[in-house]
């Protein structure tokens, strides 16, 4: 009996030792992203092919809801467990300024386009920044219910703000970002002048005044899944949201909705590497693979966000499951109708405008 026990113990110890030995060779990387359909598209386009080719790397996919709170908390606690984070560019810039993310040399670390164009020229203009490697261009755009209005259908941002012609509830994100820009566009400011007007106190007054004209009819959302849900339930006739979510409501769930690309706000999403991460070498290898021309084009097979590389655009093909052509669903196709958020302007003004916006909501 005693012997059996001893053998079992020795055997178990051996197994444990082997398990530890094995895991010492393989590297676990914690890759953090937004979850849902978006993470699913990354798993199919990036993680799975990479793990197939590199059996010694294990990519753990974790979800978060955006923002820098966790990265900053990990950094302050001195125990950074995330190796790679999917962030919007505004957070990347802010995290970079605060020293939370590592600076990257794009040309040295990333692969060139198939024709040899270096990354700094291949990534769309204005998308690169010090600590940020762009993946996709997404947009905030409006969708409306096609069964809500008889006769003329809404086409422009001015229509979204026109309660007389297009009555009914709207849903907007509970944030001054984008809403102030849209109010000015609906009020007749051209897309190119938006931030010049917004940079004056009168411009801000004007934007809030215009937003005030629809305030009584607005349901404010905070979770990205809500606008598509409210539109599908018929609770609202207009809603703004991430174009990918609206795409899946329209094409996958066949809801009676249509997009309004006019005034869409383009934004960039990509990778940032926590400065105090423990596996930087391995992470950079993965990022190099995941941001090459073909991989970025592959992601568009699973979700309607535009690849951030010029050279990926012609490779965008059909949706992997629905078989529809993805090109008309890429926000980049309608780029001239919209504009890129001005990150620097918002970085300077967000704290104050957010208080002002919340106070305005309560009035």
């Amino acid at each position: 009996m005693k012997n059996t026990l001893r053998y079992t113990t020795v055997g178990l110890a051996g197994v444990v030792a082997m398990a530890f030995g094995a895991s010492a060779q393989a590297v676990d990387l914690n890759v953090v992203s937004w979850g849902g359909a978006y993470t699913a598209s990354q798993l199919k386009a990036y993680h799975q092919p990479y793990m197939k080719a590199n059996s010694d790397v294990k990519l753990n996919s974790l979800d978060y809801s955006g923002g820098l709170a966790e990265v900053r908390a990990q950094s302050e606690a001195g125990n950074v467990t995330w190796d790679l984070v999917d962030v919007v560019v505004a957070d990347a810039i802010r995290g970079c300024d605060e020293g939370l993310f590592m600076e990257v040399d794009h040309d040295a670390l990333l692969l060139p386009a198939p024709d040899g164009t270096p990354p700094t020229e291949d990534f769309l203009e204005g998308t690169l920044s010090d600590c940020f490697i762009p993946q996709i261009i997404y947009s905030f755009a409006f969708a409306y219910r096609t069964d809500a209005f008889k006769g003329e259908q809404p086409k422009t941002m001015a229509d979204v703000f026109d309660l007389k012609k297009f009555p009914g509830k709207r849903t907007l994100q509970r944030s001054p970002v984008n809403n102030l820009e849209w109010a000015l566009i609906a009020d007749g400011v051209s897309v190119d002048d938006v931030y010049d007007v917004l940079d004056t106190p009168e411009g801000i007054e004007r934007a809030f005044a215009k937003l005030g004209t629809i305030k009584s009819e607005v349901i404010w959302w905070t979770e990205g899944a809500v606008p598509a849900q409210l539109l599908a339930d018929g609770e609202v006739v207009f809603g703004n949201g991430y174009n990918g979510r609206l795409f899946s409501a329209i094409e996958e769930e066949k809801q009676p909705l249509a997009m309004i690309w006019d005034g869409q706000v383009l934004d960039i999403d990509g990778w940032s590497i926590p400065a105090e991460g423990k596996n930087k070498e391995e992470v950079l290898e993965f990022v190099k693979f995941a941001t090459d021309t073909q991989r970025l084009a592959d992601q568009a097979k699973y979700i309607s966000y535009g690849p951030a590389r010029e050279s990926s655009l012609p490779l965008v093909s059909k949706h992997a499951e629905l078989g529809i052509d993805m090109e008309p669903h890429m926000p980049t196709k309608y780029a001239d109708q919209g504009f890129l958020t001005n990150f620097q302007w918002w970085a300077d003004n967000r704290d104050e405008l957010n208080e002002r916006f919340e106070a305005w909501l309560q009035q």
Partner: protein
């Protein structure tokens, strides 16, 4: 007197007592350390964070030292500009300058751009005079206000976050003034949080009292069924119950459609029942109801029915007997339920977030915003400390009036 082994009895008793005390301490030690590390330490840390201002003196040590002797008139001397240039350069290299930029931007919008813009150009400024060079890099350095702001934030501690949390601020010369009207939000939210929590507490008494009374007086098999009906939602996930209320209350939802179907309201005049304070009040009342029913029930269960019969036989009618004999004996349960529901309600987060819209969100939603989105953790901490202080104060008043010893949880 000596014990059996020859030691003095006093010593032997003291030894036995000490062993018992150590044993008792050992038994409570796990709970003590758990509460210490999961409760007391974080609260102390949070309170410290709400007055913490170490970033500015930490990253700009030379500047803040140089500003100490400045009289606040005009512009500071060249040496201060030189100190600032050196600090910004060092901060840029250690990549901590962004923290200063964020900190200053809380006070004055646009300071982030001033600091980061200067930091980007600082490498080009190699020698003095620094005054002209810095003003050239960013014209804000030529403004007295900018320097007054830096001087005001030179101390490692500040009460600025508390002022901000009650819609006030320091003006450029350090006087306490009210925030401009379009930035006042927190005081109103605190007041709303208080009155909505009180209203919800009142509603749970109104709804819970009869149910608890019924459960305490019905025969066991019926009261057990009622008990399950009370507990079943209690065991269901909070998120499920909240989203179920959205389905029930939305304008195309169950309640509205039912009212349209029976002709109570017109189809195009459906009232807005969710995404506003009505939604928050309904959903929270439902979710918190068990916290009122359970203490009420356990107290009512102990009241012998003979008391009511005695009152009746002495000539009181049913109502008088209920009000004068039964109700006073349930007050301990009402008190316990009120404290439970009120304190839970005042810090409620997820339900108001989902069903509250703009008019039904509470202070906790703004605290969460500052934790997760704006990353102004010090302001979140100040708001949290004020909330904690309010609850403690109300509890103190309650204890004075009702007496906490009169509260019974079961």
């Amino acid at each position: 007197m000596r014990a059996a082994d020859g030691t003095p009895l006093k010593v032997s008793i003291a030894r036995a007592m000490r062993r018992n005390r150590l044993l008792a301490l050992g038994l409570i030690a796990p709970l003590f350390f758990f509460i210490l590390f999961s409760f007391i330490v974080p609260i102390v840390d949070m309170s410290l964070r709400s007055i913490d201002n170490s970033v500015v003196p930490g990253v700009l040590p030379n500047t803040t030292a140089a500003l100490r002797d400045w009289d606040g008139e005009g512009l500071p001397p060249e040496a201060t500009f030189a100190a600032l240039a050196a600090d910004i350069n060092a901060g840029r290299e250690s990549r901590e300058i962004g923290k200063v930029a964020t900190r200053l931007n809380y006070e004055v919008s646009g300071m982030r751009g001033t600091i980061m813009g200067t930091a980007r150009k600082i490498a080009r400024i190699e020698e003095g005079p620094y005054k002209e060079a810095l003003i050239e890099a960013n014209k804000d350095w030529g403004e007295t206000e900018t320097w007054l702001l830096l001087k005001r934030l030179s101390d490692p501690y500040t009460f600025g976050y508390y002022l901000n949390a009650v819609d006030m601020r320091f003006d450029s010369v350090g006087n306490v003034v009210a925030q401009p009207e379009f930035r006042q939000i927190y005081v109103n939210l605190f007041i709303r949080t208080l009155w909505m929590s009180l209203l919800i507490t009142g509603l749970t008494i109104l709804l819970g009292y009869p149910i608890a009374h019924l459960m305490a007086t019905l025969p066991l098999r019926y009261s057990n069924l009622l008990m399950i009906l009370v507990l079943l939602p209690f065991w269901t996930s909070l998120l499920v119950r909240t989203t179920a209320w959205i389905v029930m209350l939305q304008s195309e939802g169950v309640i509205n459609s039912l009212m349209v179907w029976i002709g109570l309201i017109a189809n195009d005049a459906r009232p807005q029942l969710v995404h506003n304070k009505i939604g928050t009040i309904i959903a929270m009342t439902h979710i918190l109801l068990p916290f009122m029913v359970l203490p009420l029930y356990s107290v009512m269960k102990t009241i012998p029915p003979s008391y009511m019969r005695a009152a009746r036989s002495l000539g009181a009618n049913q109502l008088t007997a209920f009000v004068r004999v039964y109700m006073p004996q349930t007050m301990a349960g009402v008190g316990a339920g009120c404290i439970l529901v009120f304190i839970l309600a005042i810090g409620y987060y997820i339900t108001p977030e989902l069903v509250g819209g703009t008019s039904g969100t509470l202070i906790s939603n703004l605290i969460a915003y500052h934790m997760q989105q704006s990353l102004n953790w010090s302001l979140a901490a100040a708001l949290g400390v004020i909330l904690l202080g309010t609850v403690a104060a109300l509890y103190f008043i309650y204890n004075r009036i009702v007496g906490i010893d009169n509260m019974k949880l079961g």
